[in-house]
């Protein structure tokens, strides 16, 4: 990912490379902690999903801004077999 703006090419110094490698290692740890925390949140999240389905089938789903549409209960999605509830995707589509 890039903001597509200007970068002025230069040689990365040994000091900068060492700094980068240290930060990459720490980021790996941070990511693992996030994955574990989000795994632990699964039971509560399941409840949040149920409450969400209840709201969009009664008060409505936000289609655009405050415009709402009530979703009939028989149109609500069902969790596919074998599809775990996953919310953290390390590199998005590149990690699937």
């Amino acid at each position: 990912m890039s903001f597509k703006n200007l970068f002025i090419k230069h040689e990365r110094s040994a000091e900068e490379e060492a700094w980068l490698q240290e930060e990459i290692a720490e980021q790996e740890d941070r990511f693992s902690q996030i994955e574990n925390t989000m795994e632990d949140l699964k039971p509560i999240r399941a409840q949040w999903y149920r409450e969400f389905f209840d709201r969009i089938s009664t008060t409505g789903f936000n289609v655009d801004g405050d415009e709402k549409m009530v979703i009939p209960r028989d149109q609500l999605p069902v969790q596919p077999d074998g599809n775990e509830d996953r919310v953290v995707w390390k590199h998005g589509v590149d990690g699937e």
């Binding site: 597509k4 970068f7 700094w19 980068l20 999903y49 655009d64 999605p77 996953r86």
Partner: protein, 320 residues
Amino acid sequence: MARPHIEPFCDRDVSFKNMNLSGFGNGMRFKMLSLDTDSGACSITVQFEGGYKQNPGFSWSEMEMIVIDGELQYGDHTIRKGHYLFVPAGYAMPAISSEQGALVLMMYNTGEPSHVESDEHHALAQVGLHHDIDSYMDIPWAMGNVVKPSVAAGCLIKLLNYNPISHAMTFLYCMTPAFYQDNISYHDCAEESYHLWGTSWMMQFGDVPTGGYFWRPAYINHGAFASELGCIALGRVDSKLFNHFHYNPWSTPVQNQDRSAARLYQRDPLLYKWMVSHSHNHPHGPEDFEQNVHRHDQDKVSDGKTHSHWHGHDHDHHHD
């Protein structure tokens, strides 16, 4: 491989580290929020200690910055809470100091943090892109419906930076107390947010408090949304923002991406067919003639010995 998905994360949960890279001097401490493992681009929360001083100089990377708390002396200007700066790569910033200390969010967009002491801009610096503003006092809140379909009323924004080519944006946003929006969203771009104050909630990740942060790659579900007491945050997207709303919490990033492509096909079938039929390996996309067209003013530059007459090529000629 680019920046990973960091969500949720709260910088209040970790300690500051000393910034030991050359050029930054003593008294700069930081917390890493997210890091591009290839380029070194990163977002960091920075604590400048009282008495901190940095000499004039530039970064090899483009940099954005907002003051979260405290006061900084930026050349002749005193900048405070809410002050935002966009600093192009190679732009020589004036001396920076802080008498009492300051808490700042810094975003290095295209490379690792760097500071090369210099009171002159680098020859390649796009100096005219530099801008800064007191985002709290000098810009009014606007409705959040800058894109359609839009967020619900009660989510307001202040646009701070806009890239007209990539449509990347930096903006402040706030959610009013009792804000809620009952849909799931994903985007075709990466999204980043740092909570300057207050707490919001997302159905996948729970509460994001003050100091809460995320860097989210494209096509990842987020929402429904709510904020009980309100919040104010700095947000960024790295290309055009489009809200793909739906209500299936189990869709994957690849499924979401397929849906985006399907919607492009439905909306712009001719363009889609052309893109697919020319599906060679062009990682930077097809050529935009407006960016590469040969222009008159490119030939007007003289090195003092030769010159041209706006021709696109050189040839011998004489003058009287």
